[in-house]
């Protein structure tokens, strides 16, 4: 009996590595600490009522962002572990098996559990405010989406200590990811972590496109929407069309592993190349999903901090819509080397290059927004200015990779690694940082400390070039990606060492940001509605915004409506008279989403281990939650006029 428990435990828990034991201990300690603090300060009720069951888009947004920063930390630690292992030949820090797990979790986490939720967090906080709405179209669904993302991410991360991490790369190509070569449960964690959060992503896409179409303030025609809202619109189109492909692909892979299917196996007529096509049919659009909102943020920031209208509004919108469509016709550039023949390679090479055109146009428009502006170097603007050269160079190497026959020499080398980190960090991460700094006062009512932010900025930026420029060279020297060791005779050692120093510098940059957030939380000045002298509607309401966002729904007349209002006021023209305040219709909090999340977690865990006594109750729980929701009628309420007036007065009093 004892022995069989021991056997089970050593299979169930990941053992044998001091790093992992360390992680186990810190996870347990952190959990105990959190429980202790919450109990000591009697905060359980507060946490449950105000946060976990909330349907308020602003709070959901904050929870997304917190989770994403946590995942950025995990992904970053993964990155530094890898860079340590390959800093020089012969380092025995990570075993090959472990290295493979680390790059797999790093890639998956960074894209799906860091970039996506950070992006959704910003959508949530800003979109309703920017279009003058009281919440998103489906607040309940919004909360469900958050919980699906959250439990998906937790399930995936659990593999680190229970069962074993996936190790077939974030792309998880079969046959390597099939049972034949990968019998452990790691791949199941990959499938279910992504699958559960993916359903949430799809729902978020639908939610926001409906919000943008149906809930804009009166007067805000589509062509008066702020650029960030437009970018979210374009992104949601891609999400809605691309995520179902991922869901189906992973479902088929799961059937192969779970039910003896043969979709992607080698034998019995399966075809792994089918998976590779399907994966990238989602995967390429996915990179545009994460980068378009960053483009939207840059547009807002550039206009605000140059004190100028965005240049070429119409062609900016057109460019984004073109990108969102063309991005579906380029997927094959991820495997020019699969031997599809010259016709097909040439076709996909050219479609890929076509995307460079609208992207280039956007760069010019940002530049000419700054031209004849008055540029203020606040943190959001610094990240935006750093983005431009970084993305231009990353874009150029992207075009070089798109040249199919040249890609035969770049493919799967460090040249590729350098390219996609340059666009993912220089484009996506810089953009979300800019957005965080820009909208932080709107979320919390204070700005983040400037000086610490400047330190973080320089560490990140210098670190970035020191880390990734040498990798272009390493690629041309023949170093392939995903290798955990190499020898001195390759000549790769010096550049790898330099690259690792750069990675550490970025790590320090991140620590500065953590310090910046902590410091500013305890020591700050409250700011008013409009701390940056902004241009769009989110700056007309309080910072942080009251739960109903706007006491009176705004009327929109111009693209940069708030800026136009300020200009009118400066000229001494009075605002339109305001209509009287009316009772405000709001959605009620719900306990169903977190419970449904939990049910999904149980089900996912059961599927990972093929334990029916887990997945059947889990799926039943999901079904019961859905049924319970369809029979609950008490889902909304009105905030009476008195209370709105009181809140508004309190806000005005406190500023």
């Amino acid at each position: 009996m004892l022995d069989s428990i021991k056997d089970f435990a050593s299979w169930f828990f990941v053992t044998g590595d001091p790093l992992i034991y360390g992680a186990d201990v810190s996870i347990v300690l952190a959990t105990i600490a959190i429980f202790a603090v919450l109990t000591y300060f009697k905060k359980w009720g507060w946490l449950w009522r105000n946060w976990l069951t909330t349907v308020d888009h602003k709070k959901i947004g904050i929870m997304y962002i917190l989770a994403a920063l946590l995942m950025l930390f995990r992904g970053g630690v993964d990155a530094i572990m890898m860079r340590t292992q390959i800093a020089l030949p012969g380092i025995k820090f990570l075993e090959p098996e472990h290295y493979n797990q680390v790059f797999t979790t790093h890639g998956t986490i960074m894209i799906l559990f860091m970039a996506m939720p950070l992006m959704f967090g910003l959508f949530n906080i800003i979109i309703p405010l920017q279009i003058g709405a009281r919440d998103v179209a489906y607040p309940f669904l919004n909360s469900v989406s958050f919980w699906l993302f959250f439990v998906g991410a937790m399930l995936f991360n659990l593999s680190f200590v229970i069962g074993g991490s996936p190790d077939a790369g974030w792309t998880s190509y079969p046959p390597l990811s099939e049972l034949m070569h990968n019998p452990g449960v790691g791949e199941n964690f990959y499938i279910w972590g992504i699958q559960i959060s993916g359903i949430g992503s799809l729902a978020t896409g639908i939610n926001f496109i409906v919000t943008l179409i149906k809930m804009r303030a009166p007067g805000m025609t589509l062509m008066k929407m702020p650029m960030f809202s437009w970018s979210v619109f374009a992104t949601c189109i891609i999400i809605i069309l691309a995520f179902p492909i991922l869901t189906v692909t992973l479902a088929l892979l799961f059937l192969d592993r779970f039910a003896g299917g043969h979709f992607f196996t080698l034998d019995m007529g399966g075809n792994p190349m089918m998976y590779i096509n399907l994966f990238w049919m989602w995967g390429h659009p996915e990179v545009y999903i994460v980068v378009l909102p960053a483009f939207g943020i840059y547009s807002e920031v550039v206009a605000t901090f140059s004190r100028k209208s965005i240049f070429g509004y119409k062609s900016m919108v057109f460019a984004m819509l073109v990108i969102s469509i063309v991005s579906f016709f380029t997927w094959l550039h991820h495997f020019f080397t699969m031997g599809s023949g010259a016709d097909i390679n040439a076709f996909f090479a050219i479609t890929t290059m076509i995307i460079a055109i609208p992207t280039g146009v956007k760069i010019f428009n940002w530049l000419f927004t700054m031209y004849r502006g008055r540029i203020r170097f606040e943190l959001p603007m610094m990240w935006t200015i750093a983005f431009i050269p970084c993305f231009v160079v990353g874009g150029m190497t992207g075009v070089m990779l798109a040249v199919a026959p040249a890609d035969f020499q770049f493919h799967n080398s460090y040249f590729l690694i350098a390219h996609f980190h340059q666009v993912l960090i220089g484009g996506v991460v810089f953009g979300y940082f800019a957005g965080l700094y820009y909208w932080w006062p709107k979320m919390f009512g204070f700005k983040l400390n400037h000086k610490l932010g400047v330190w973080a900025f320089w560490f990140w930026n210098i670190g970035f070039y020191v880390c990734f420029m040498p990798q272009y060279s390493l690629g041309l020297m023949g170093m392939t990606r995903r290798i955990s060791e190499y020898t001195w005779d390759t000549g790769w050692a010096p550049l790898n060492f330099i690259s690792t120093i750069g990675a550490l510098m970025m790590g320090i940059g991140f620590l500065f940001q953590v310090a910046q957030i902590l410091y500013s939380t305890f020591k700050h000045k409250k700011v008013g509605n409009d701390p940056w002298d902004g241009r769009t509607l989110e700056w007309t309401t309080a910072s942080p915004a009251p739960e109903y966002n706007f006491a009176i729904t705004p009327h929109v007349h111009a693209v940069d409506d708030w800026w136009a209002t300020k200009e009118r006021r400066a000229k001494g023209i009075a605002d339109d008279p305001l209509p009287p305040i009316e009772p405000i219709h709001m959605p009620k909090n719900s306990i169903i989403p977190p419970i449904m999340g939990l049910a999904w977690f149980v089900a996912g865990f059961g599927f990972v281990f093929d334990w029916w006594w887990f997945y059947i109750p889990g799926m039943l729980g999901v079904a019961i939650c859905m049924i319970a929701r369809s029979f609950s009628y008490d889902t909304d309420y009105y905030i009476p006029v008195d209370e709105v007036k009181r809140t508004e007065e309190a806000i005005r009093g406190s500023v």
């Binding site: 792994p272 094959l332 428009n365 004849r372 040249v403």
Partner: protein
């Protein structure tokens, strides 16, 4: 830090910048051996040309953009009594917009033409023009080693490849393990090695020498060990090498020893004096389902090629020979 005098801060900044740049330049230009930019065969040579042409074409756009960025950011920064113009409501210009839609379009058209040309010219399965008949080498990617079969000579090697210089080599590539990619940077670009099918890649070495070869697509635990040396030797040396390997009859590959070889594991360089006939097609077409047939087409080099009958890119390829039907003669 704000207490420090301005000049000291400037000094620190300058020193940090110079050191960083110095280290980067040293690393990137003085320690580096750029295999891809130092090709030793016609395929690698054309690929290098293509890389240079496309880089230059891209630079036509990006260098001015980078300069423009620096100038604009510097000139229009907000400072007291600056002289640069400020026009907050100027946000439209048909002429400018036409320019920056037009210029990228023209550059991309140029790039597209170059790319399409080279894509056809460098199609991997296209034979290389040469007087000599190509040597055939059959490549099998295993967990975690490379097996090279020389069908004309009936010898085999693991993790070391010897080819005659100046003679085109026709590589037939498959895998008996997860997908990998066969890459010899100084001779030319890579192509995937996939189980259940065979790919064709022509390369040629123009100079005697030892070149770096590697697996390029992650294939599991000891993927990093999948490196091999490519020895390009003179025809005479090649012939005597073949004789030497043939003479060493102590080590051969048999059906049984192949099964061992295919098991996951790493090993050093080995040579074998013979291997069972038809071993390659047995490996490449082992996943065949009897009775299925797919459409077939003629490939560029005139050999019969079959696709899996799907129309998705990557399957109905110009060059993939799929196991589904091509295996009929083997079984």
């Amino acid at each position: 830090m704000d207490k420090k005098p301005r000049s000291l801060r400037t000094l620190i900044t300058v020193v940090v910048t110079l050191v960083t740049l110095g280290v980067l330049i040293w690393g990137m230009f003085f320690t580096a051996d750029y295999l891809v930019l130092n090709p030793k065969g016609p395929v690698g040579q054309s690929e290098k040309e293509l890389i240079i042409i496309t880089t230059l074409l891209c630079c036509v756009v990006i260098v001015p953009v980078l300069i423009l960025t620096a100038v604009i950011v510097w000139r229009y920064r907000d400072k007291p009594n600056r002289k640069a113009a400020y026009s907050p409501n100027w946000h439209d210009s048909k002429v400018l917009e036409t320019v920056w839609w037009g210029v990228p379009i023209i550059i991309i058209i140029a790039l597209a033409v170059v790319t399409a040309r080279y894509t056809y010219a460098l199609e991997p399965s296209k034979p290389i023009d040469a007087e000599q008949k190509p040597v055939t080498v059959q490549v099998v990617s295993l967990d975690w080693k490379w097996l090279f079969l020389y069908p004309d000579e009936n010898i085999a090697t693991v993790n070391t490849l010897t080819i005659p210089e100046g003679v085109p080599v026709r590589f037939e590539i498959t895998a008996d393990a997860p997908m990998n990619s066969f890459w010899i940077p100084q001779l030319g670009g890579q192509i995937y090695a996939m189980s259940g099918m065979s790919m064709t890649l022509y390369l040629k070495a123009d100079e005697v020498g030892t070149y770096f070869g590697t697996g390029a697509n992650f294939s599991g635990e000891h993927f990093a060990q999948m490196r091999f040396d490519v020895n390009a030797v003179s025809q005479a040396d090649y012939d005597s090498w073949v004789q030497k390997v043939k003479g060493n009859t102590g080590s051969t590959i048999t059906e049984a020893s192949y099964a061992d070889l295919a098991k996951p594991g790493v090993m050093g360089e080995t040579e074998y004096s013979s291997f069972p006939e038809g071993l390659y097609s047995k490996i490449a077409y082992k996943y065949v389902v009897d009775g299925e047939n797919a459409d077939s087409e003629d490939s560029t080099d005139g050999t019969k090629q079959e696709g899996m009958g799907s129309s998705l890119p990557g399957f109905s390829s110009g060059q993939v020979t799929s196991g589904l039907s091509a295996s009929q003669p083997v079984q």
